[in-house]
Subunit: 403 residues, 2 copies
């Protein structure tokens, strides 16, 4: 039997990261390729205690069907938190020009996919930083929309080329951005550029999707306002999640956006999974209200501050010029760039032989066939010892391969 698949899915490849994740079991392999939060960041004891409480006080509601929008107390707690922390959330009742609402989604991934689904017909374009998050790219492609890459510079997307790209792509429906601790590069877009990006979006009436899964994970430098905090016109869809601060495996995230957009996302989500696991929505809410989330996040920041410093130290020691790498102020990733003309895929294969896995930069390209001289490193998943030994092996790889 030969199966005919839809155009949008026929050419969709499994995520290289997920594939690497699956083959990480090779003995002795050190993976710097994942993007998993560190296991020690899960507040296991508190979650166990709160789970037992839910079972003993509201088990039926926690196991029964619920509403698509999400558990109302969680929506409220999330809305309140991002208002206080990030200045996010407009309300006509407070004199704003539009009203934001929050929908709970099954991880930030679903937020991206739903946004593409409600905004894009097959063949429409989504403008992205290049490189960008593979999950974002695949969400766009899986609905038959087309990612269009605009180069990412050290302080954010190239805004001249962004404007040019909007002009050249009349079917561009959305700009997909990860302005803070960008995946895969670790770059944070400057406030100046955020303002410029918002002005461009306003000029052309195009929606910005601000993906902010790592926003709470700053371990050095000064906070930069979110683009959503600049939103006076109702142009920004803001998405974040609990994956990097409580548990990735529970799949609980949220989107805050103008209510017209959220209401369409609710209808689309209803057709996708009816609602997000309600037990874990309640668990998130209880953690936010009964535990000290800020203190917990402070602890996570400390862990990643140490792990990132360890990685940078290892890279500075072993992976000397001409290899360049970013020095992130938060998030989970470091981006390494080989000297002009070097064979990046050959380098990555050589590293695999030395039993250290990294993600080739081509994975994150909007144009899957375009070359890349870079690769992504992660410091949240490996142990401290693995970071030290892994960077040493990378240095060895560079010495042998770049000679």
């Amino acid at each position: 039997m030969t199966y005919n698949f839809s155009d949008k899915v026929a050419n969709l490849a499994p995520s290289a990261i997920r594939e690497i994740f699956k083959s990480m079991s090779v003995p002795g392999m050190i993976s710097l390729a994942a993007g998993n939060p560190a296991a020690e960041t899960f507040p296991v004891a508190e979650l166990a205690r709160l789970s037992a409480e839910i079972f003993s006080t509201e088990a039926v509601a926690a196991l029964q069907y619920s509403i698509t929008e999400g558990y109302p107390p969680l929506r409220e707690a999330v809305g309140e938190r991002i208002r206080q922390k990030f200045g996010i959330g407009c309300a006509e009742s407070r004199g704003d020009r539009f009203t934001d609402q929050t929908i709970i989604v099954s991880g930030g991934q679903q937020g991206i996919e739903l946004a593409v689904k409600v905004l894009c017909n097959e063949g429409d374009a989504v403008i992205c930083e290049n490189p960008t998050f593979i999950g974002g790219l695949n969400a766009i492609r899986s609905l038959g929309a087309v990612p269009v890459g605009v180069p990412l510079l050290g302080d954010g997307i190239d805004t001249d080329k962004l404007e040019k790209s909007i002009k050249q792509n009349p079917r561009a429906r959305m700009i997909y951005l990860i302005p803070t601790f960008h995946n895969p590069t670790g770059i944070t877009t400057s406030l100046e550029k955020r303002i410029k990006i918002y002005e461009i979006a306003k000029k052309y009436g195009i929606i910005i999707f601000e993906d902010n899964p790592y926003g709470e994970l700053r371990f050095s430098g000064a906070e930069v306002p979110t683009i959503k905090a600049l939103d006076t016109e109702g142009l920004v869809i803001y998405c974040s999640s609990f994956s990097k601060i409580l548990s990735a495996g529970m799949r609980v995230g949220y989107v805050t956006a103008p209510k017209e957009i959220v209401q369409k996302m609710v209808v689309a989500k209803q057709s996708e999974d009816v609602h997000t696991n309600i037990f874990f929505q309640m668990l998130c809410h209880r953690f936010m209200t009964e535990c000290d989330l800020d203190a917990h996040i402070e602890k996570i920041r400390g862990i990643y501050r140490r792990k990132c410093a360890l990685m940078i130290e290892g890279l500075e020691r072993h992976l000397t010029a001409p290899v360049e790498f970013t020095r992130p102020e938060g998030g989970l990733f470091v981006w390494c760039t080989l000297p002009e003309g070097a064979d990046m895929l050959g380098f990555v294969r050589h590293a695999l032989e030395k039993k250290v896995a990294v993600v080739p930069g081509t994975t994150f390209n909007c144009n899957a066939d375009a070359p890349s001289g870079s690769f992504r490193l992660n410091y949240s998943t490996p142990t401290d010892e693995q970071i030290i030994e892994g960077t040493r092996r990378l240095g060895e790889t560079a010495m042998e391969f770049l000679e």
Copy 2:
């Protein structure tokens, strides 16, 4: 700001059932409109105990990212169960012509949506029983595919019209069916018709999606083999879930289909929610292996046997001819049909005034503008007292409205 939404979502209405669910809080309202499993079917004590065990023995794995295909021990346990119970699952290694695989999905709803996503381009058709499950219809519509209705008779879809419909719709990519305890009608397709349907699908090389969320809930009559059990060519996608036997709110379901199809669904699911809540996948697996799932299901069947009998008894007493209703052998629903020419929507509104909510049959029509003389009743969600009083109020409605 005026937002431009995608064509597929612009005209998608929120599910009437979900809307009713939200407005069920009117004081004194008896809802026979839901589709929720009875609260007493949730094995709360066991799930609480097993959850505590997971937290104490494998918390990190239960909170961390996992693989898109689903928790391997759960996939295996599900595969084994449906092989033993329903004769489902082919393997080339056992001499079959193709190999089935199982993917865990975030509720049966995601199974439907993923199947449409991997098989249909925008504008392709999916042939459905008419009436059919609103969640199925909206999954089809939300991807820009078009549901095409074929009348459902007392023993299953009209197979002559099914064949005609396939011939008339060259873009038909899938037949969506709920052969056992159909939602909304409660009808079970006869074995003879299942064979006939499979032969037609084989003749035209078209995929069947067999949605079987209620298959375990038979409380009278004899088991009928699934269509998937007849699948010799790799034409059937089989979908079921734990929603009606363990917990609906956890959103755990599964799809068993030829591996080529499952592998595409894995890639599409990766872009939707990465994977299903892993903690609850582990919980399902533990329940299946450490508790007596069959005994638990037997208990649920007993509850629904009693509740269904109570509803039929009430309808027979109060809702006498010329109103007709189905007598299901399992599942959650009874389908009532008013006499020719009666104003069904007027009847439903009159019932609401008498504080009994039912779902108008138009909700389940493939063609949203087509009329319906029927409405759906549910007996799993209301209490016994509500079933008795609700059917009495329906009888009163009929007396007053059909005069």
